[in-house]
């Protein structure tokens, strides 16, 4: 009973926040509603007893994807007025399509019944194991093929990201530079800072002088070092 009530509460919030994602005026708000939607979906998973999926949803989608969205939305200069205009322009058509599709799906789903053979295809519950362990077993045995292909997909995604953004290969390029982790780690404070005795009433920053320490890096402007040494 409580579970049922909870399902409807979470489901209602999920749908409402999903509606807000597409209708919110402010894109930052839209992303925040998206995060809310993810949380509610995770809650629904929890109600189904799929705690691993619920946590993964929170960690991956809320922790990584949605936050990334937030950064992107904040950093990009989006013309909100134009976006609104487009939204309004397509609203009638989009609404019409949506309604038609909804009606059709409703018509279809009212005729829902389980396929007769479905009971036999469902695996017996393995109560002795946790969700995580069960998924692990399946992924590394029955579904090893899909798991490996997923790895390839990610590899391609990685190659794609590098190909489309990394630019340091060109001799003339100065946009990004390669990070030399070993040098960065091996650096001591003595390499970067010189302590100097200064009069107490002088300018506060003047006593810290940057040094050129990284091999292969020729810095035209010493001020740049701060940003650079912070790493990427």
């Amino acid at each position: 009973m409580i579970a049922t009530a909870a399902f409807y509460v979470f489901a209602a919030i999920l749908i409402a926040s999903a509606a807000m994602v597409v209708s919110a005026r402010n894109p930052v708000h839209a992303v925040l509603f998206l995060i809310l939607a993810f949380f509610n979906a995770a809650a629904l998973f929890l109600l189904l007893g799929a705690e691993f999926l619920a946590m993964i949803l929170v960690i991956v989608y809320v922790g990584a994807v949605a936050v990334l969205f937030l950064f992107v939305v904040m950093m990009l200069d989006i013309n909100f007025a134009e976006m609104r205009e487009g939204f309004q322009r397509y609203l009638p058509v989009g609404a019409a399509i949506g309604v038609v599709l909804l009606v059709e799906l409703a018509a279809v789903l009212t005729g829902w019944k389980f396929a007769p053979g479905i009971a036999t295809t469902r695996a017996a519950p393995m109560s002795a194991l946790t969700n995580t362990a069960q998924l692990g077993r399946l992924i590394y045995t029955d579904y090893i093929f899909l798991f490996q292909v997923s790895g390839l997909v990610l590899l391609v995604a990685m190659i794609g990201a590098i190909v489309l953004t990394l630019r340091d290969r060109r001799p003339s390029a100065t946009i990004s530079r390669r990070q030399n982790i070993a040098v960065q780690i091996a650096r001591t404070s003595a390499d970067t800072m010189v302590m100097m005795d200064v009069p107490t009433r002088g300018p506060t920053m003047a006593h810290i002088k940057p040094l050129v320490t990284e091999p292969g890096e020729e810095l035209a402007d010493p001020i740049d070092t701060h940003a650079h040494h912070g790493g990427h």
Partner: protein
């Protein structure tokens, strides 16, 4: 085997001369075609000799399968019987002589290789026609000779008259071909085959078949006979469809000799003989054949009396002689018609080549009114023309006498109304034939020279390449008559023809011919001599008479001079209305028929630009299109499925 070589050698020569003519030169092209023709004539004659006098048996040489579609089968096959062997021997011999003659006649022409290629191509097509074992192959040869004839009439394609004549020949022949093709179709419809052996074997089963058309029943054999004869009328220039033949004289003279005298125009007669077993069961059609043949014989002879172009006179004479052959075929005397075909081939080719020699000597002058007084300068040609005309006029013992007399006897012996009509027409035509022959001879060779002295100075005997064929053909014109008469149309004709000409049991016309009264046998000869005498009186003794005669009967003279106004009649009733209709259709075509594809094209282009407008470049639009697509498909399923 001999037959196959005889048929295919000219094709080989034609291919070499036509395709490689430019590369190997005119001399080599001539040499190749003539060698091929010599080979063909040797093979052709030996095939004939070994069949008729030797031990060879008739048969069919299958070269390969041609068409096999459902129940319809046609092979490339050569039929080896007396009929085809006679024709092959005649065609190869005459064609070879004309090839040789052309060396001299065409020596000043620009495209010799092309000429020889066409000539050999024609020979091949003619041989394919006469050796056909089925009607389709016969039709192939039929169309092939038509094509070669078109190419050769229009050989001097820079002359408008030659082009027009070529076109006319082609179009008029097309009318006849339509009838022939319909006849073939009807034969296939009735017999289920177009192979001669199958058709003839099934003759007795279908005698009473009727063909229902226009609410009336016609006996199928009669319809077939009429249709086949319509085809023959086109090719053999019978009255109505004859108009192309005189115009075809625009072609080089050797062409006229080969195609429009000796071979192609006789294809219709050959067809009658080939289909003789069937035609014997179609008396109505045969009466029609006799009637048309007799009318043509008389009509063409009258026209020939007034023409002034030397080649046109001979052309109308050919037309007239073909009419004789159809009279013979029409009364069932196929052997006689074939005999006349054979003799005619020699003496008419001789006449044409002689005329060519005259034209050659007179610096390409063809009008007889500008000739005269040259018989001493070109004696060989003169003698050859004499022999040819004697044969044509039917003076014994020249070849024409035997065959023409036989035709008249056959017409008389048929004892039918139309047979007698044929007899009287032919008899009058015999007189006219002799008359115009000597008119031609006298106007061309005798009297005072009417050409300018510049031309007269150049009059010379033709080179050996032209005179040797003349001599050989003259020998033919003398010898073929009495040496073959007994075998071909005599008592034991069956020994000569074998089964090649099959006649019905009721057909005993050859036997009846022997029983005709002596006066009937004598009549054509007498009238021939009378004609010669008349011509001598008119043109030699009292040269003023023809002019006065023409002046006193102006209507008749103009009627004959204008060839019974056939061309004018056709022009007014067919050509002009047709071209008016064509002009109107052309306008409809331009506006309505062309309008449709043009309109569709414009619609297409407009549609294209509309579709391209959908391609806005906006991702949102594209995504919407996809979603609309999905919804449409789901709706489709829910509504339809």
């Amino acid at each position: 085997m001999l037959l196959a070589v005889a048929v295919l050698a000219p094709l080989f020569g034609s291919m070499i001369a036509g395709l490689l003519g430019r590369a190997i030169g005119d001399r080599a092209a001539q040499a190749v075609t003539i060698l091929c023709m010599l080979l063909a004539s040797v093979c052709g004659v030996s095939a004939f000799v070994s069949l008729v006098y030797g031990s060879a048996t008739p048969g069919v040489v299958v070269l390969g399968e041609w068409v096999s579609a459902g129940e319809f089968h046609a092979n490339w096959a050569l039929r080896y019987d007396t009929l085809s062997a006679v024709m092959v021997a005649m065609v190869t011999c005459v064609a070879t002589l004309i090839h040789i003659y052309s060396i001299g006649y065409m020596s000043h022409d620009k495209s010799i290789a092309r000429f020889f290629s066409y000539l050999s191509l024609f020979t091949f097509a003619m041989l394919a026609l006469v050796t056909a074992d089925n009607l389709l192959q016969l039709f192939f040869g039929w169309e092939g000779v038509g094509l070669a004839s078109y190419l050769l009439i229009g050989f001097w394609y820079d002359r408008p008259a030659a082009r027009a004549a070529a076109m006319k020949a082609f179009v008029v022949n097309r009318i006849g071909d339509l009838g022939f093709a319909a006849g073939i179709a009807l034969i296939f419809f009735i017999f289920g085959s177009i192979e001669f052996s199958t058709i003839f074997a099934g003759l007795s089963q279908h005698v009473n078949d009727v063909y229902h058309v226009l609410g009336t029943d016609f006996r199928a054999y009669e319809v077939i006979g009429i249709l086949l004869f319509i085809g023959a009328m086109g090719k053999s220039a019978q009255l109505g469809l004859h108009v192309w033949l005189p115009d075809a004289m625009e072609g080089p003279t050797p062409v006229s000799a080969l195609i429009h005298a000796a071979t192609m125009v006789t294809a219709g007669v050959f067809l009658m003989s080939r289909m003789s077993p069937l035609l014997d069961f179609a008396p109505g059609a045969m009466h029609f054949v006799t009637f048309m043949g007799a009318s043509t014989a008389l009509f063409a002879a009258t026209v020939a009396c007034t023409q002034n172009d030397i080649k046109r006179v001979i052309a109308y004479s050919t037309c007239s002689q073909l009419g004789y052959m159809f009279v013979a075929a029409g009364v069932g005397a196929y052997q006689v018609s074939m005999f006349h075909l054979l003799t005619h081939a020699f003496f008419k080719a001789l006449l044409f080549l002689g005329a060519g020699s005259v034209i050659h000597a007179m610096s390409n002058e063809q009008d007889m009114r500008k000739m005269g007084g040259i018989w001493k300068m070109i004696p060989l040609t003169y003698v050859a023309m004499w022999i040819g005309n004697l044969a044509l006029a039917g003076v014994p013992p020249f070849a024409g006498y035997f065959s023409k007399d036989a035709i008249l006897e056959a017409a008389w012996a048929s004892h039918s109304l139309v047979g007698h009509y044929g007899f009287w027409c032919c008899l009058i035509a015999a007189f006219l034939t002799a008359f115009y022959s000597w008119r031609l001879l006298i106007m061309t060779f005798h009297g005072a020279p009417r050409a300018d002295h510049h031309t007269m100075e150049h009059v010379h005997e033709s080179p050996w390449a032209m005179t040797v064929p003349l001599i050989l053909l003259a020998a033919g014109a003398v010898l073929t008559g009495f040496s073959f008469a007994d075998q071909i149309i005599g008592e034991d004709w069956h020994a000569f023809w074998g089964d090649a000409i099959g006649v019905a049991a009721s057909n005993h016309i050859l036997a009846d011919m022997a029983a005709v009264p002596a006066v009937v046998s004598m009549a054509p000869t007498v009238l021939g001599l009378l004609g010669i005498a008349t011509a001598y009186a008119f043109y030699m003794v009292w040269p003023a008479i023809p002019g006065r005669l023409a002046a006193s009967l102006p209507g008749l003279y103009r009627f004959l001079l204008n060839k019974w106004y056939f061309d004018e009649l056709y022009d007014a009733t067919i050509v002009q209305p047709a071209s008016r209709l064509a002009r109107r259709l052309w306008r409809i075509d331009g506006e309505v028929i062309d309008g449709m594809p043009n309109g569709v094209a414009r619609l297409t282009a407009d549609g294209s630009s509309q579709i391209v407008k959908l391609q806005t470049g906006s991702i949102a639009n594209y995504a919407f299109a996809m979603l609309i697509g999905v919804v449409a498909l789901v709706s489709l399923y829910l509504i339809v499925g």
